[in-house]
Amino acid sequence: MKRLAAGTGIVAALWLANGLLSGSLVPALGISPYFLQVLCLAGINIILAVSLNLINGFTGQFSIGHAGFMAIGGYSSAFLTVTFGDRIRAALGFLPEAGQNGVLLLTGLTVGAILAAIAGFLVGVPSLRLRGDYLAIVTLGFGEIIRVFIVNIDAIGGARGLSGIPKLANFFWIYLFAAITIVVVSRIVNSSFGRTLIAIREDEIAAEAMGVDTTRSKVISFSVSSALAGIAGALFAHYLMYLNPNSFTFLKSIEIIIMIVIGGLGSITGSVLGAVLYIGLTEGLREFAQYRMVLFSFLLVVLMIVRPQGILGHWELLAGLPRRWRLGVDAPPPVRG
C-alpha cells in the first residue's frame, strides 16, 4: 500500500509540474517553450545516462553504441505510431483523447524497448562471452551500422528523416520514465543480481570463480540497458515529432559517455547530475558561439585532471539516510546475531 501511495504521489506531482511548467494550468506561471524543451531533453538524457551507467559504470563493460539502441527505439516506435496510429486510435474510440495518446505512447515505448533489448541481446551474446574490450569494438560498429541502415530504408524516411510523428510525449511522460529508469536501475544494482555485476567490474576472473555466470549477468545487464535506451529514443521521437539519422551518430554515444564520466561512473545520482550538467553547459555556452565546444572540451579536461573519478565518484544521494528512505536500496536491515 505504501508503495502504491508513493507511486501515485510521484505521478500526481509530475502531472502538476507538467501543468505548471507548460502554463496550461496557470498561464502566468508557464516557463518559456525553449526552457521547457531544454528540461525535457535533460529528462531524456537522464534516461540515457542512467541506463548506460548500468553497463559501463556498474558492470564495467564499455559500450560506445548507446545511440544505436536509442535509434532503434525511436524509429520503431515512431514507425508504429505513424503507420498504425489511426487504427489504434479507432480501436480506442471509447477513451478521451489524452487517454488515447497515453495508450499509443505506451505501445510505442513497449515496442521500442523490446526491439532495442533484442538488438542488445544479439550484440551482447557474441561480444560479452569474451573478457576484455570487445564490447566497445562491437558496439562502435553496431551504432554506425544502425545509422547507415536507417539512412537506406525509405519507408522510415531514409536520409530525409522521419516526420509527422504525433506529439505524444511531454514533460510528464519523460520525467515519469526518467523516474522509472532511476528506480529500476537502482533496484537492479542493489539486488543480489546487481552485486554480481559489480563483482564482474571489480574482478571478472574472481567473479566467475565464485560461481557467477558472468556471460549471463553481462548480457542481461546490457539488454536492460539497451531497452531503457530504446525507451529514451521513443520519447525523443514523440517529443520532437521528427527523427533524423544524424541525431544518432557516434557523437551522440560519446555525449552520453561524457555525461556519465562527468557525474561519476558507478553513481546513479552522478549520472543524473552529469546529464543535467551536460545539457546545461552546452546550452549555457551558446553565447560563445563557435568557441562553445572548445570551451566545453577545456572544462572536461580540467575536470578529468582535478577529479578523474567524476564529480560524485561512487557516491549516491540518500546513501547516508536510514535504509528504508534510500533510493532503491533494498538491503535488509542489519541482523545482529
Partner: protein, 253 residues
Amino acid sequence: MALLELKGVTMRFGGLYAVNDISLFVEPGQLYGLIGPNGAGKTTVFNVITGVYTPTAGEISMDGESLGGKRTGRITRHGVARTFQNIRLFANMTVLENVKVAFHCRQAARLAAAIFRTGTHAAEERRVDRESRELLKIFHLDHLAEEKAKNLPYGSQRRLEIARAMATSPRLLLLDEPAAGMNPQEANELMDLIRWVRDQYGMAILLVEHNMKVVMGICETVHVLDYGSTIAIGSPAEIQRNPKVIEAYLGGV
C-alpha cells in the same frame, strides 16, 4: 569413489609442460597438500581443475562426473571453490558484499523479483545477509563487515578470500598459498581455522602452500610436484624423509 579425480592430466604451453601426466585423488573430507618448488605447476593444477585452462590431455572428474570443458562458474556451482595466490577480492565492495556475491550462485534470485521487490526476494536477501554475517563471524571478520575489502590488512584479506569461497557451499575447497605473507602466529591461527572448517563442514581441502609447517601440520596426504611431474605422494612423515623431495628442494649432491 574419490571426490576429485585427476587422471593423466597434462597441460602444455607450447613446448613447456607446466603439468605433465599427473594423477591425483582427493577423498571426501580429506586434507590434501600439494607442494613443490616455484614453477612446479601447482597453480596450473588449480587452474586446470577450475576450468581456467582446458588440459591438453587427461581426465578430470568430480563424483564421477567429468569437469572437462565446463566453464569456471559451472564448476564452482558443481561444488569446487578456490582462493587465489595473488589475492583477488572485489576491492571496492564491502567485506559483507564480497561474501554475498559468492552466495548468489546458490540463490534462486530472479531479476524481476528484485525490480518489483517481491516479498520472497526480501526474505531471501535477509537470509543471505544473516548467513553472510555468520560466515564472517567464523572468520573473525564480522567487525569489518562494512569496510571496503581493499582497506583490510593482508591477513584479513586472506581470511576473507577463504570466507568468500566457503559461501559457495563447496564440497572441495582449493586454497592457493593461504599462509603467504603471514607471520608465524597468523599462520598458526590459519592452520587451526582450516582444520576447524574441514571438521565442521566436512569438505575436502586441496592446499597449495610453501609454508612447510602449515602443510606438514595439517595435511593427511602430501603430493610433491617438480617441473610439472609428480615425484612423491605420501604422509607428511614419509615425504620429509623422501630423498627425491629433498633433492628437489635443496638440489642434488
